[in-house]
């Protein structure tokens, strides 16, 4: 064992987790090499000193701060807070929900049977759907922070769409109400308007709105899954495609949870959210260029840049969900040569 290889084992040696055979080799080296022995002694002193940094106390009013933030949830959400509900209330809530769903489901049939005008209203459903699609499109073209709220609102609307159409209620109105409710919740959750969490993404509007939309615990999981980021498509400018793919394959092999599929000049990579995505970007930049600046003038490239930016925002806001649900992220690369 030489100085270079011994350095790789200093940490495990200090923690006493080095395999016996390796430990023996390192002990032998440390007896012969004063430099490495001094390094280990310094590292030992450093780790011992770091322990002292853990002995800090939270502020005295920490608990009351948490309680205040929990109280700041809107009253209707606290009322529907599944975790906080006693069993009789849960049964009552389930029963009421079932009755409501049954009423909503049967209303159109009753309506059709009694009024011949109903087909005219049903016929307008596609038009309403079109309006709804336009509304979603408008919302998605709004500012990034607004877009986060809007996208979650759109997802809520999608989930509601069949029921609202059957009930001949304009879905756009339903989605708008929902979005407003989600926005209110977000504002309340984030505290004052100038608090860092409001515009920062430190709070997760996507998560919160999804939870609001989900209501009960069971449906919350589905809602959060539904807001997992869409695949990111980007152009990867590389000199040699085979070499670049080989380098990427090697990285995927070294990266736990990552997968890679090659389809001609397209490469689809799936990485576990969220830590690995940053590493992937580093890897891509190491072997090529992502959406070169000269192409950024074109609309297509602008879209790529926009998608990347959006995704960063969404990713940062869904890191909490990633802990709970482990949603993966898909990146679709189109390999292009520098001359194209």
């Amino acid at each position: 064992m030489n100085c270079h290889t011994s350095r790789e084992h200093f940490s495990a040696y200090l923690d006493g987790v080095l395999e016996p055979a390796m430990r023996l080799q390192l002990d032998t080296h440390l007896q012969a090499c004063i430099s490495c022995a001094n390094e280990v002694a310094t590292l030992r002193q450093m780790t011992a000193s770091l322990q002292a940094l853990g002995s800090v106390k939270a502020p005295a009013d920490f608990l009351s701060g948490v309680q205040q933030q929990l109280q700041r949830q809107p009253a209707w959400q606290r009322w529907f807070d599944w975790q906080a509900m006693a069993m009789p209330s849960r049964v009552l809530a389930l029963g009421l929900t079932a009755v409501l769903v049954a009423c909503v489901a049967t209303l159109p049939a009753i309506f059709r049977a009694r009024h011949q005008a109903a087909p005219m209203m049903l016929a307008s459903a596609p038009a309403l759907r079109e309006t709804h699609a336009e509304l979603k499109k408008d919302m998605l073209q709004a500012a990034p922070e607004r877009r986060l709220k809007a996208s979650s609102g759109a997802i809520v609307a999608d989930k509601l769409e069949p029921a609202t159409e059957r009930a001949a209620v304009p879905p756009s109105a339903a989605s708008a109400d929902r979005e407003e409710a989600a926005g209110d919740f977000y504002r309340n959750e984030s505290g004052t308007a100038d608090a860092p969490g409001l515009a920062t993404g430190a709070a997760t509007p996507v998560t919160n709105t999804a939870q609001v939309a989900g209501g009960a615990a069971g449906s919350t999981v589905k809602s959060i899954s539904a807001v997992s980021p869409a695949p990111i498509r980007m152009q990867w400018v590389v000199v040699s495609q085979p070499a670049a793919i080989a380098a990427l394959q090697s990285w995927v092999n070294r990266t736990s949870g990552a997968t890679l599929v090659v389809d001609g000049a397209h490469v689809i990579i799936q990485v576990p959210m969220p830590q690995v995505y940053d590493q992937l970007l580093v890897e891509l930049n190491a072997h090529g260029t992502i959406a070169s600046s000269k192409d950024a003038e074109s609309d297509a490239s602008k879209e790529v840049v926009s998608q990347l930016s959006d995704h960063k925002e969404v990713m940062e806001n869904t890191r909490f969900d990633a802990v709970l649900l482990g949603s993966p992220l898909t990146v679709e690369l189109t390999l292009v040569s520098p001359t194209q």
């Binding site: 940490s11 590292l43 800090v56 948490v66 906080a84 940062e316 709970l324």
Partner: protein
């Protein structure tokens, strides 16, 4: 008297059954640890308080998803870490950096005190030396890259096991070992001549 893990499980069950006051017990039990991790990750007292409190709020909201086989503290620290990452990215986007506000003395009714707990057994000179060393350590921690800082804070500051760290940062135990070695060597290099 059960282990902290089983005690947490029973408190969490009470929370789920509607006993909202039971959650206060969890906050009181883990507030120091959550705050210490946030403080060492962010290097700013007020930001750390904010993030640690938010982590408890998120934990409360997500209690329905918490799996009983995991430790509550591990899950909570994973939330703290995620919020710290988000907060740092927010700073980076707005070109905000914490430079020298790391544990600065605080004005209290009894005069200025440092936020760290001083060693009562050390003499004045020794306390000054320890204080200086801690200041160097805190500054060096903030200069580390994020992945290295996470590992060092969880292992050397908090004393967590490799397995717990692997769960929090979501990687293999082997990766934790190799990252920890790299992180310690980087930190050691940053502290050259100051230890």
């Amino acid at each position: 008297m059960g282990t902290p893990h089983t005690e947490d499980a029973s408190v969490i069950e009470r929370c789920r059954a509607g006993d909202t006051a039971a959650f206060d017990q969890l906050v009181l039990r883990y507030q120091d640890q959550a705050f210490a991790v946030a403080l060492r990750m962010l290097g700013d007292y007020h930001e750390a308080t904010d993030v640690a409190q938010e982590a408890f709020v998120r934990a409360y909201q997500g209690l329905a998803h918490f799996r009983a086989e995991a430790k509550f503290s591990t899950w909570l620290l994973a939330i703290v870490m995620n919020l710290c990452r988000n907060r740092r990215r927010w700073w980076a986007r707005r070109k905000q950096y914490v430079v020298a506000s790391i544990d600065e003395p605080v004005a209290t009714d009894e005069g200025e005190v440092t936020r760290d707990v001083a060693d009562p057994m050390a003499g004045p000179h020794e306390q000054a030396r320890i204080g200086e060393l801690r200041q160097h350590l805190r500054a060096a921690l903030q200069m580390l890259d994020e992945a290295s800082r996470e590992i060092v804070v969880l292992r050397d500051v908090q004393g967590l096991s490799y397995e717990e760290i692997a769960q929090i940062v979501r990687c293999e135990v082997g990766t934790v070992k190799s990252r920890l070695n790299r992180a310690r060597l980087r930190l050691r290099a940053l502290l050259d001549g100051k230890l």
